[in-house]
Amino acid sequence: MTQAQVVASAIPEQTIWKEHVSWIDRVPRWVSMLALLIAFLIVWQIVYFVELVSPIILPSPLETIEDLFVVGKNLLTGDYMLAALWITTQEVALGFLIAVVLGFGLGVLVGETAFGERAVMPYLVAINTMPKVAFAPLFVSWLGFGIASKVALAAFIAFFPVIVGTAAGLHAADQNARMLFKTMGASRWQTLVQLKLPIGMPHFFSGLKNAAVLVVVGAVVGEFLGGGKGFGELIRVAAAQLNTPRVFSLIIYLSLLGLATFWIVAWAQRRFVFWHKESVTEETLAQ
């Protein structure tokens, strides 16, 4: 009857083998993230308190948080900081758009044609190895101190990963798929549009994610080196005035712009590459 029970009770304690999961692997994600943040703030506060570095160059965390509210209020009431953020946002958006269009076009040229792969790619690689920031003064002298020179630098810094992503994507189709398209009598254009581009989408989007991060770098560096009225300029001025809490809080708000760009790309990827498992999972967001 109770044979199962008999057997169960008959298992000697010392023979039981159980999986052991360490406590550090069991902590919920939000707890560990919060703990890390608090630990960081405490260390920061201690460094400030014992004056390990001069308070002039390192503000206290409290000062910084206070200033976060000041800047936040300024942004919300539509004051001059919002105008600056809007300018930088425009630069980022336009720079990203140009980087994507240019990168996609060149990526298709490089990935699809022998001419592109053999003749164009070496030049692109050469351009990519140049320190692109060094072009900033050129862009300013060509395009002036307005938004155009920043857009150009942002696009210039961000376009290469899009090329690489697009070109790599075009090579992602396997031999079977290509042969299948041949047996169906597909033209080169049909093979590109119906097979190679869709299959290459995940590669294309990882290029876009890299570009989304780089484009903000380009816009801000452009503002540092070429003036204007954007967020970068606010940071530069605050730093010149040794208003370090302000620098920190501006950087934190600026990172929100980068995050927003990245999230838009991640959202588009989940929407358009719904069929690719790795594109849909959370993992890619923390890439």
Binding site: D174, N176, M179, K182, T183, M184, G185, Q194, W275, K277
Partner: protein, 272 residues
Amino acid sequence: MAVLSIAGEAVAPAGLLGRPVYELRGVSKTFVRRNVQALDKVDLVLREGTFSSIIGPSGCGKSTLLKIMAGLQPPSSGSVVLEGKPVMGPRRDIGMMFQQATLFPWRTTIENIVLPIEIRDGKAAARAKHDQARQLLDLVGLKGFENVYPSELSGGMAQRAAICRMLITEPAVLLLDEPFSALDELSRDFMNMELQRICLERNATSFLVTHSIPEAVILSDVVYVMSPRPGRFVEAITVDLPRPRTLDMMSDPRFGTLVHRIRNHLDKGAFQ
């Protein structure tokens, strides 16, 4: 003797005497750059409603032969004629299936099946074929799966969908390149029997490339044994087991004799 031959005709599939569908005469292929003669004067006739297999060691030129028959590669010399018209490139009356199902994950099952129509005749023509595609799904036992994405299909189900995609253009000949060799043994046997059922139901003319002797024998009316370097047929073996075949026939002594005969050929080739 006369009695025997009548009996033989009675069990042989009627198709063996059918009209020739695909004819290859003196097909040779040399890869000049690698200095390899892949095929040497291959003659082959596929008759309507018959199932033929080709078996041989790796590198004997099977895939080259199949690529020529699919219109993917021209022969160095020889004539390749399907339905009275020379094959000069890919054609809609050639259906082909590979080891991998190669369904595209961004298309639903039915959109995958009508892809050959979409490529050749455009989107509207493909939509018009949806009813026919549903009938094919019914035929292969995938009824109700038309709007499912391929990631939700098992390996066997994916190959069933690939069968539908091959059949949607109503090809005159089916070229099968080890279609079930990526499946596990049980699914493979089962899918082979399904393949036979589908071919018999449609009176299809089929040509299978395989590495499995039992698979070749159980499915085929004729098994061509191929030897490598240069690839040529060493024997065409007629399989006179009655249709429809069952997996139980694998324990039939006639089946054993045929398998043995083919294995002998292949072993000889291996020790050359």
